[in-house]
Protein backbone atom coordinates (compact mmCIF):
# COMPACT_ATOMS: atom_id res chain seq x y z
CA UNK A 1 0.00 0.00 0.00
CA UNK A 2 2.62 2.53 1.04
CA UNK A 3 4.74 1.66 -1.99
CA UNK A 4 1.68 2.23 -4.13
CA UNK A 5 1.06 5.59 -2.49
CA UNK A 6 4.66 6.51 -3.26
CA UNK A 7 4.16 5.66 -6.94
CA UNK A 8 1.01 7.78 -7.00
CA UNK A 9 2.77 10.76 -5.45
CA UNK A 10 5.50 10.22 -8.04
CA UNK A 11 2.98 10.22 -10.87
CA UNK A 12 1.21 13.34 -9.62
CA UNK A 13 4.54 15.11 -9.10
CA UNK A 14 5.67 14.13 -12.60
CA UNK A 15 2.51 15.45 -14.19
CA UNK A 16 2.60 18.62 -12.09
CA UNK A 17 6.15 19.42 -13.12
CA UNK A 18 5.41 18.67 -16.78
CA UNK A 19 2.46 21.06 -16.60
CA UNK A 20 5.01 23.88 -16.29
CA UNK A 21 5.68 23.41 -19.99
CA UNK A 22 2.20 24.69 -20.72
CA UNK A 23 1.98 27.38 -18.05
CA UNK A 24 3.25 28.20 -14.57
CA UNK A 25 0.44 27.12 -12.24
CA UNK A 26 -0.36 26.50 -8.54
CA UNK A 27 -0.09 22.77 -9.05
CA UNK A 28 3.56 23.16 -10.10
CA UNK A 29 4.15 25.77 -7.44
CA UNK A 30 3.01 23.41 -4.72
CA UNK A 31 5.58 20.80 -5.66
CA UNK A 32 8.24 23.45 -6.21
CA UNK A 33 7.86 24.91 -2.71
CA UNK A 34 7.47 21.52 -1.06
CA UNK A 35 10.64 20.19 -2.61
CA UNK A 36 12.67 23.31 -1.81
CA UNK A 37 11.55 23.10 1.79
CA UNK A 38 12.36 19.41 1.94
CA UNK A 39 15.73 19.69 0.30
CA UNK A 40 16.76 22.60 2.53
CA UNK A 41 15.88 20.39 5.48
CA UNK A 42 17.57 17.40 3.91
CA UNK A 43 20.80 19.35 3.43
CA UNK A 44 20.79 20.20 7.14
CA UNK A 45 19.96 16.64 8.18
CA UNK A 46 22.69 15.15 6.00
CA UNK A 47 25.29 17.60 7.33
CA UNK A 48 24.16 16.89 10.86
CA UNK A 49 24.35 13.10 10.40
CA UNK A 50 27.50 12.92 8.29
CA UNK A 51 29.59 15.77 9.63
CA UNK A 52 28.45 17.57 12.76
CA UNK A 53 27.63 14.49 14.83
CA UNK A 54 30.52 12.24 13.74
CA UNK A 55 32.98 15.11 14.06
CA UNK A 56 31.80 15.75 17.58
CA UNK A 57 31.52 12.13 18.69
CA UNK A 58 34.47 10.56 16.84
CA UNK A 59 36.64 13.65 16.63
CA UNK A 60 36.41 16.13 19.46
CA UNK A 61 35.26 13.65 22.10
CA UNK A 62 38.10 11.31 21.16
CA UNK A 63 40.80 13.90 21.68
CA UNK A 64 40.93 15.92 18.47
CA UNK A 65 40.70 19.12 20.49
CA UNK A 66 42.35 21.21 17.80
CA UNK A 67 39.01 21.03 15.97
CA UNK A 68 37.47 23.26 18.63
CA UNK A 69 39.40 26.32 17.45
CA UNK A 70 38.05 26.35 13.86
CA UNK A 71 34.69 25.29 15.29
CA UNK A 72 34.58 28.30 17.58
CA UNK A 73 35.64 30.62 14.77
CA UNK A 74 32.97 29.11 12.52
CA UNK A 75 30.27 30.15 14.99
CA UNK A 76 31.16 33.75 14.18
CA UNK A 77 29.64 33.24 10.73
CA UNK A 78 26.18 33.52 12.24
CA UNK A 79 26.92 37.17 13.02
CA UNK A 80 26.13 37.84 9.35
CA UNK A 81 22.49 37.99 10.42
CA UNK A 82 23.22 39.86 13.68
CA UNK A 83 22.74 43.62 14.21
CA UNK A 84 25.02 45.66 11.87
CA UNK A 85 27.41 46.54 14.69
CA UNK A 86 28.66 42.95 14.96
CA UNK A 87 28.31 41.83 11.37
CA UNK A 88 31.99 42.24 10.54
CA UNK A 89 32.83 39.26 12.77
CA UNK A 90 31.72 36.84 10.05
CA UNK A 91 34.78 37.81 8.03
CA UNK A 92 37.09 35.70 10.17
CA UNK A 93 35.67 32.26 9.37
CA UNK A 94 35.20 33.45 5.80
CA UNK A 95 38.87 34.40 5.57
CA UNK A 96 39.93 30.99 6.88
CA UNK A 97 37.74 29.05 4.46
CA UNK A 98 38.85 31.14 1.51
CA UNK A 99 42.48 30.78 2.47
CA UNK A 100 42.16 27.04 2.82
CA UNK A 101 40.54 26.70 -0.58
CA UNK A 102 43.02 28.97 -2.33
CA UNK A 103 46.01 27.16 -0.85
CA UNK A 104 44.45 23.84 -1.71
CA UNK A 105 43.82 24.59 -5.35
CA UNK A 106 47.11 26.40 -5.88
CA UNK A 107 48.81 23.22 -4.70
CA UNK A 108 46.74 20.63 -6.55
CA UNK A 109 45.46 22.23 -9.74
CA UNK A 110 48.82 22.61 -11.54
CA UNK A 111 49.47 18.86 -11.54
CA UNK A 112 46.76 17.73 -13.99
CA UNK A 113 47.46 20.98 -15.85
CA UNK A 114 51.03 19.78 -16.50
CA UNK A 115 49.73 16.49 -17.88
CA UNK A 116 47.36 18.36 -20.16
CA UNK A 117 50.17 20.49 -21.59
CA UNK A 118 52.40 17.47 -22.07
CA UNK A 119 49.56 15.73 -23.85
CA UNK A 120 49.52 18.35 -26.61
CA UNK A 121 52.94 17.43 -27.97
CA UNK A 122 53.83 14.00 -26.60
CA UNK A 123 51.74 12.22 -29.22
CA UNK A 124 53.04 14.31 -32.10
CA UNK A 125 53.57 12.01 -35.08
CA UNK A 126 50.88 12.17 -37.75
CA UNK A 127 48.78 14.77 -39.54
CA UNK A 128 46.01 14.52 -36.95
CA UNK A 129 48.30 15.40 -34.09
CA UNK A 130 49.54 18.45 -36.01
CA UNK A 131 45.99 19.62 -36.61
CA UNK A 132 45.41 19.08 -32.93
CA UNK A 133 48.43 21.19 -32.00
CA UNK A 134 47.50 24.03 -34.36
CA UNK A 135 43.94 24.25 -33.04
CA UNK A 136 45.16 24.11 -29.46
CA UNK A 137 47.55 27.00 -30.04
CA UNK A 138 44.83 28.97 -31.81
CA UNK A 139 42.45 28.57 -28.89
CA UNK A 140 45.07 29.61 -26.34
CA UNK A 141 45.81 32.71 -28.46
CA UNK A 142 42.07 33.46 -28.54
CA UNK A 143 42.10 33.75 -24.77
CA UNK A 144 45.01 36.16 -24.58
CA UNK A 145 43.27 39.34 -23.50
CA UNK A 146 45.87 42.04 -23.50
CA UNK A 147 48.57 41.42 -26.11
CA UNK A 148 48.39 41.76 -29.87
CA UNK A 149 44.89 43.21 -29.99
CA UNK A 150 45.88 45.37 -32.95
CA UNK A 151 47.77 42.72 -34.88
CA UNK A 152 46.02 41.33 -37.97
CA UNK A 153 47.69 37.93 -37.59
CA UNK A 154 46.37 37.57 -34.04
CA UNK A 155 42.97 38.68 -35.26
CA UNK A 156 42.94 36.00 -37.96
CA UNK A 157 44.09 33.37 -35.49
CA UNK A 158 41.25 34.35 -33.19
CA UNK A 159 38.68 34.05 -35.97
CA UNK A 160 40.06 30.61 -36.80
CA UNK A 161 39.92 29.61 -33.13
CA UNK A 162 36.39 30.93 -32.87
CA UNK A 163 35.29 28.74 -35.77
CA UNK A 164 36.95 25.73 -34.18
CA UNK A 165 35.18 26.49 -30.92
CA UNK A 166 31.82 26.82 -32.66
CA UNK A 167 32.39 23.39 -34.18
CA UNK A 168 33.14 22.10 -30.73
CA UNK A 169 29.97 23.60 -29.32
CA UNK A 170 27.93 22.15 -32.16
CA UNK A 171 29.35 18.69 -31.57
CA UNK A 172 28.90 18.99 -27.85
CA UNK A 173 25.28 20.07 -28.34
CA UNK A 174 24.61 17.21 -30.75
CA UNK A 175 26.08 14.66 -28.38
CA UNK A 176 24.11 15.92 -25.41
CA UNK A 177 20.79 15.71 -27.20
CA UNK A 178 21.10 11.95 -26.90
CA UNK A 179 21.48 12.10 -23.14
CA UNK A 180 18.60 14.46 -22.60
CA UNK A 181 16.26 12.29 -24.65
CA UNK A 182 17.42 9.30 -22.63
CA UNK A 183 16.24 11.08 -19.51
CA UNK A 184 12.90 11.94 -20.99
CA UNK A 185 12.56 8.35 -22.15
CA UNK A 186 13.21 7.30 -18.56
CA UNK A 187 10.38 9.49 -17.32
CA UNK A 188 8.02 8.31 -20.06
CA UNK A 189 8.89 4.72 -19.18
CA UNK A 190 7.98 5.51 -15.57
CA UNK A 191 4.55 6.64 -16.71
CA UNK A 192 4.01 3.99 -19.39
CA UNK A 193 5.62 1.01 -17.69
CA UNK A 194 5.55 1.46 -13.90
CA UNK A 195 2.24 3.26 -13.70
CA UNK A 196 0.05 2.41 -16.68
CA UNK A 197 1.70 -0.94 -17.45
CA UNK A 198 1.40 -0.37 -21.20
CA UNK A 199 4.89 -1.66 -22.11
CA UNK A 200 7.52 -4.01 -20.70
CA UNK A 201 11.21 -3.44 -21.45
CA UNK A 202 14.58 -4.80 -20.30
Amino acid sequence: MTAELQTWIGVIATLAIFSFLIKENPFYRFFEYTVIGMSAAHAVVMTWDNYTKPFWVNGVMKGEYYLLIPGAIAVLYYFRYAPPKYQWLYRYPLALIMGYNIGYSLAYDPRPFMTQIRGTFESLKDLNSFIYLVIFIGVVVYFIFTFGNKSAAVGKTRTFARYAMMMYFGVSFGNTVQGRFSLLLGRLLFLLQDWLGLVKLG
Binding site: E24, R29, S39, I97, R111, M114, E122, I144, T146, T176
Partner: protein
Protein backbone atom coordinates in the same frame (compact mmCIF):
# COMPACT_ATOMS: atom_id res chain seq x y z
CA UNK B 1 48.86 2.10 -30.64
CA UNK B 2 52.56 2.99 -30.51
CA UNK B 3 51.54 6.22 -28.86
CA UNK B 4 50.15 4.31 -25.94
CA UNK B 5 53.16 2.06 -25.67
CA UNK B 6 55.32 5.16 -25.50
CA UNK B 7 53.19 6.65 -22.77
CA UNK B 8 53.19 3.41 -20.87
CA UNK B 9 56.98 3.34 -21.08
CA UNK B 10 57.14 6.90 -19.78
CA UNK B 11 54.89 5.96 -16.90
CA UNK B 12 56.89 2.92 -16.00
CA UNK B 13 60.14 4.80 -15.68
CA UNK B 14 59.78 6.73 -12.41
CA UNK B 15 61.47 10.06 -12.26
CA UNK B 16 63.53 10.72 -9.15
CA UNK B 17 62.08 13.68 -7.27
CA UNK B 18 63.57 16.03 -4.72
CA UNK B 19 63.32 14.48 -1.28
CA UNK B 20 60.91 16.86 0.36
CA UNK B 21 58.32 16.80 -2.41
CA UNK B 22 55.34 14.48 -2.67
CA UNK B 23 56.04 11.70 -5.14
CA UNK B 24 53.45 12.48 -7.82
CA UNK B 25 53.70 13.52 -11.44
CA UNK B 26 53.95 17.25 -11.70
CA UNK B 27 54.60 17.81 -7.99
CA UNK B 28 57.76 19.87 -8.43
CA UNK B 29 56.87 21.47 -11.75
CA UNK B 30 53.39 22.24 -10.41
CA UNK B 31 54.93 23.90 -7.39
CA UNK B 32 57.09 26.07 -9.60
CA UNK B 33 54.13 26.90 -11.81
CA UNK B 34 52.28 28.24 -8.80
CA UNK B 35 55.32 30.18 -7.63
CA UNK B 36 56.09 31.63 -11.07
CA UNK B 37 52.49 32.75 -11.57
CA UNK B 38 52.44 34.38 -8.15
CA UNK B 39 55.69 36.21 -8.84
CA UNK B 40 54.49 37.33 -12.27
CA UNK B 41 51.25 38.62 -10.82
CA UNK B 42 53.10 40.40 -8.05
CA UNK B 43 55.44 41.99 -10.57
CA UNK B 44 52.68 43.32 -12.83
CA UNK B 45 50.57 44.51 -9.94
CA UNK B 46 53.50 46.42 -8.46
CA UNK B 47 54.32 48.01 -11.77
CA UNK B 48 50.68 48.97 -12.23
CA UNK B 49 50.69 50.46 -8.76
CA UNK B 50 53.76 52.53 -9.60
CA UNK B 51 51.81 53.99 -12.50
CA UNK B 52 53.15 52.10 -15.47
CA UNK B 53 50.44 51.92 -18.14
CA UNK B 54 48.83 48.52 -18.55
CA UNK B 55 47.68 47.30 -21.98
CA UNK B 56 43.95 47.32 -22.55
CA UNK B 57 41.83 44.20 -22.29
CA UNK B 58 40.26 43.27 -25.61
CA UNK B 59 36.59 43.98 -26.11
CA UNK B 60 34.23 41.52 -24.47
CA UNK B 61 30.75 42.08 -25.89
CA UNK B 62 29.08 40.14 -23.08
CA UNK B 63 30.39 42.53 -20.46
CA UNK B 64 29.61 45.65 -22.45
CA UNK B 65 26.06 44.36 -22.70
CA UNK B 66 25.51 44.53 -18.94
CA UNK B 67 24.77 48.26 -19.07
CA UNK B 68 22.29 47.75 -21.88
CA UNK B 69 20.58 44.93 -19.99
CA UNK B 70 20.21 46.91 -16.78
CA UNK B 71 19.04 49.91 -18.80
CA UNK B 72 16.29 47.88 -20.40
CA UNK B 73 15.22 46.45 -17.05
CA UNK B 74 14.92 50.02 -15.79
CA UNK B 75 12.77 51.06 -18.75
CA UNK B 76 10.48 48.10 -18.28
CA UNK B 77 10.41 48.40 -14.50
CA UNK B 78 11.33 44.75 -14.07
CA UNK B 79 14.04 43.15 -11.94
CA UNK B 80 17.53 41.94 -12.86
CA UNK B 81 18.44 38.38 -11.85
CA UNK B 82 21.96 37.18 -11.20
CA UNK B 83 22.36 33.55 -10.28
CA UNK B 84 24.86 30.86 -9.51
CA UNK B 85 24.07 27.44 -8.15
CA UNK B 86 27.23 25.60 -7.23
CA UNK B 87 29.86 28.02 -6.02
CA UNK B 88 30.64 28.09 -2.30
CA UNK B 89 32.71 30.75 -0.59
CA UNK B 90 35.97 28.99 -1.37
CA UNK B 91 35.22 28.57 -5.04
CA UNK B 92 36.98 30.59 -7.67
CA UNK B 93 33.61 31.04 -9.39
CA UNK B 94 32.38 32.97 -6.38
CA UNK B 95 35.47 35.15 -6.54
CA UNK B 96 34.65 35.92 -10.15
CA UNK B 97 30.94 36.32 -9.40
CA UNK B 98 31.57 39.04 -6.83
CA UNK B 99 33.14 41.14 -9.58
CA UNK B 100 29.94 41.01 -11.62
CA UNK B 101 27.74 41.38 -8.60
CA UNK B 102 29.39 44.53 -7.34
CA UNK B 103 29.08 46.17 -10.73
CA UNK B 104 25.51 45.12 -11.50
CA UNK B 105 24.21 45.90 -8.02
CA UNK B 106 25.71 49.37 -8.20
CA UNK B 107 24.10 50.05 -11.60
CA UNK B 108 20.77 48.77 -10.34
CA UNK B 109 20.94 50.98 -7.26
CA UNK B 110 21.72 54.02 -9.40
CA UNK B 111 18.75 53.37 -11.67
CA UNK B 112 16.50 52.21 -8.84
CA UNK B 113 15.94 48.83 -10.46
CA UNK B 114 15.22 45.76 -8.31
CA UNK B 115 18.17 43.37 -8.17
CA UNK B 116 17.87 39.73 -7.15
CA UNK B 117 20.68 37.30 -6.45
CA UNK B 118 19.95 33.58 -6.28
CA UNK B 119 22.61 31.51 -4.56
CA UNK B 120 22.90 27.77 -4.16
CA UNK B 121 25.34 27.93 -1.27
CA UNK B 122 24.24 29.33 2.07
CA UNK B 123 27.75 30.48 2.89
CA UNK B 124 28.03 32.32 -0.40
CA UNK B 125 24.57 33.84 0.11
CA UNK B 126 25.85 35.50 3.27
CA UNK B 127 28.87 36.96 1.50
CA UNK B 128 26.85 38.04 -1.54
CA UNK B 129 24.70 40.05 0.81
CA UNK B 130 27.77 41.94 1.97
CA UNK B 131 28.93 42.58 -1.58
CA UNK B 132 25.54 43.93 -2.61
CA UNK B 133 25.11 46.11 0.48
CA UNK B 134 28.54 47.58 -0.14
CA UNK B 135 27.63 48.44 -3.75
CA UNK B 136 24.37 50.00 -2.65
CA UNK B 137 26.26 52.05 -0.12
CA UNK B 138 28.73 53.22 -2.77
CA UNK B 139 25.82 54.22 -4.99
CA UNK B 140 24.36 56.19 -2.08
CA UNK B 141 21.32 53.95 -1.77
CA UNK B 142 21.83 51.79 1.34
CA UNK B 143 18.04 51.62 1.75
CA UNK B 144 17.65 49.74 -1.55
CA UNK B 145 18.50 46.41 0.07
CA UNK B 146 15.43 44.26 0.62
CA UNK B 147 15.23 41.05 2.67
CA UNK B 148 14.62 39.05 -0.50
CA UNK B 149 17.47 40.55 -2.53
CA UNK B 150 19.65 37.54 -1.76
CA UNK B 151 17.78 34.27 -1.97
CA UNK B 152 19.31 31.01 -0.94
CA UNK B 153 17.83 27.97 -2.67
CA UNK B 154 19.30 24.64 -1.52
CA UNK B 155 21.90 23.32 -3.90
CA UNK B 156 19.93 20.26 -4.93
CA UNK B 157 20.34 20.59 -8.69
CA UNK B 158 16.74 20.18 -9.81
CA UNK B 159 15.03 21.59 -6.77
CA UNK B 160 17.13 24.68 -7.37
CA UNK B 161 16.26 24.73 -11.05
CA UNK B 162 12.55 24.26 -10.45
CA UNK B 163 12.59 27.19 -8.04
CA UNK B 164 14.51 29.46 -10.41
CA UNK B 165 12.34 28.49 -13.38
CA UNK B 166 9.25 29.25 -11.29
CA UNK B 167 10.65 32.62 -10.22
CA UNK B 168 11.50 33.49 -13.82
CA UNK B 169 7.95 32.90 -14.96
CA UNK B 170 6.38 34.64 -11.96
CA UNK B 171 8.59 37.70 -11.67
CA UNK B 172 9.53 38.06 -15.36
CA UNK B 173 12.94 39.74 -14.99
CA UNK B 174 14.02 41.85 -17.95
CA UNK B 175 17.63 40.76 -17.62
CA UNK B 176 19.15 37.54 -16.36
CA UNK B 177 22.79 36.72 -15.77
CA UNK B 178 24.02 33.18 -15.30
CA UNK B 179 27.55 33.40 -13.99
CA UNK B 180 29.75 30.54 -12.79
CA UNK B 181 29.80 26.80 -13.07
CA UNK B 182 26.54 25.30 -14.28
CA UNK B 183 25.59 21.77 -15.17
CA UNK B 184 22.62 20.41 -17.09
CA UNK B 185 20.30 23.06 -15.67
CA UNK B 186 21.85 25.57 -18.08
CA UNK B 187 19.42 24.66 -20.86
CA UNK B 188 16.33 25.00 -18.67
CA UNK B 189 17.46 28.33 -17.22
CA UNK B 190 18.45 29.82 -20.55
CA UNK B 191 15.39 28.63 -22.45
CA UNK B 192 12.86 29.68 -19.81
CA UNK B 193 14.67 33.02 -19.68
CA UNK B 194 14.41 33.31 -23.46
CA UNK B 195 10.71 32.47 -23.36
CA UNK B 196 9.97 35.40 -21.03
CA UNK B 197 11.97 37.65 -23.33
CA UNK B 198 14.79 38.59 -20.96
CA UNK B 199 18.18 39.83 -22.15
CA UNK B 200 20.48 37.04 -21.06
CA UNK B 201 24.19 37.08 -20.33
CA UNK B 202 25.92 33.84 -19.42
CA UNK B 203 29.48 33.07 -18.38
CA UNK B 204 30.78 29.62 -17.59
CA UNK B 205 33.94 27.56 -17.82
CA UNK B 206 32.03 24.30 -18.11
CA UNK B 207 32.67 23.57 -21.77
CA UNK B 208 29.92 20.96 -21.83
CA UNK B 209 27.28 23.57 -21.01
CA UNK B 210 28.54 26.44 -23.17
CA UNK B 211 26.61 25.32 -26.28
CA UNK B 212 23.27 25.63 -24.47
CA UNK B 213 24.03 29.10 -23.22
CA UNK B 214 25.22 30.08 -26.69
CA UNK B 215 22.02 28.70 -28.19
CA UNK B 216 19.58 30.45 -25.88
CA UNK B 217 21.37 33.51 -24.43
CA UNK B 218 22.06 36.83 -26.08
CA UNK B 219 25.65 37.02 -24.88
CA UNK B 220 27.91 34.24 -23.68
CA UNK B 221 31.33 34.62 -22.12
CA UNK B 222 33.37 31.58 -22.99
CA UNK B 223 35.59 29.83 -20.49
CA UNK B 224 38.20 32.10 -19.08
CA UNK B 225 36.39 35.28 -20.13
CA UNK B 226 34.25 34.69 -17.05
CA UNK B 227 37.22 35.46 -14.80
CA UNK B 228 38.30 38.58 -16.66
CA UNK B 229 35.12 40.44 -15.72
CA UNK B 230 36.31 41.75 -12.36
CA UNK B 231 39.21 43.56 -14.00
CA UNK B 232 37.31 44.53 -17.16
CA UNK B 233 34.35 46.07 -15.38
CA UNK B 234 36.24 47.88 -12.63
CA UNK B 235 38.97 49.16 -15.02
CA UNK B 236 41.31 49.05 -12.02
CA UNK B 237 44.87 48.98 -13.42
CA UNK B 238 46.06 46.67 -10.64
CA UNK B 239 43.42 44.08 -11.48
CA UNK B 240 44.32 44.50 -15.14
CA UNK B 241 47.87 43.72 -14.06
CA UNK B 242 46.75 40.27 -12.92
CA UNK B 243 45.27 39.67 -16.36
CA UNK B 244 48.54 40.71 -18.00
CA UNK B 245 50.40 38.26 -15.75
CA UNK B 246 47.98 35.53 -16.76
CA UNK B 247 48.57 36.34 -20.44
CA UNK B 248 52.30 36.08 -19.91
CA UNK B 249 51.55 32.68 -18.38
CA UNK B 250 49.74 31.73 -21.57
CA UNK B 251 52.68 32.86 -23.67
CA UNK B 252 54.93 30.65 -21.53
CA UNK B 253 52.57 27.73 -22.10
CA UNK B 254 52.66 28.35 -25.85
CA UNK B 255 56.45 28.54 -25.75
CA UNK B 256 56.64 25.26 -23.84
CA UNK B 257 54.28 23.57 -26.26
CA UNK B 258 56.24 24.69 -29.32
CA UNK B 259 59.54 23.74 -27.70
CA UNK B 260 58.13 20.42 -26.60
CA UNK B 261 56.83 19.74 -30.09
CA UNK B 262 60.25 20.41 -31.62
CA UNK B 263 61.98 18.23 -29.04
CA UNK B 264 59.42 15.53 -29.69
CA UNK B 265 60.16 15.53 -33.40
CA UNK B 266 63.92 15.36 -32.81
CA UNK B 267 63.95 12.68 -30.15
CA UNK B 268 60.73 11.42 -28.56
CA UNK B 269 62.55 9.43 -25.88
CA UNK B 270 64.58 12.34 -24.57
CA UNK B 271 62.00 15.09 -24.65
CA UNK B 272 63.34 17.38 -21.93
CA UNK B 273 60.23 19.59 -21.89
CA UNK B 274 58.07 16.59 -21.26
CA UNK B 275 60.33 15.38 -18.45
CA UNK B 276 60.43 18.84 -16.94
CA UNK B 277 56.64 19.00 -16.82
CA UNK B 278 56.41 15.53 -15.38
CA UNK B 279 58.96 16.28 -12.69
Amino acid sequence: MSRFLLLAAAEAQKLPRWGIFVDTDGAVSGFFTAVILTVLTWYYVTSARSGRPMPEIRKLAGLDAIDEAVGRATEMGRPVFLANRTAGVGSVHSFALWGYMGYVARLCAQYDTPFVNIAGSYLAAAVNEGVIKQSYLEAGRPDAFKPDTVRYIPDDQWAWTSAVAGMLKRERPAATMWIGYFYAESMTLAEVGAQIGAIQIAATTNTAQLPFFIAACDYTLIGEEEYAAGAYLSKDPMLTGTIVAEDVGKLIVLGLVVLGAIAQLISPENNFVSKMLQF
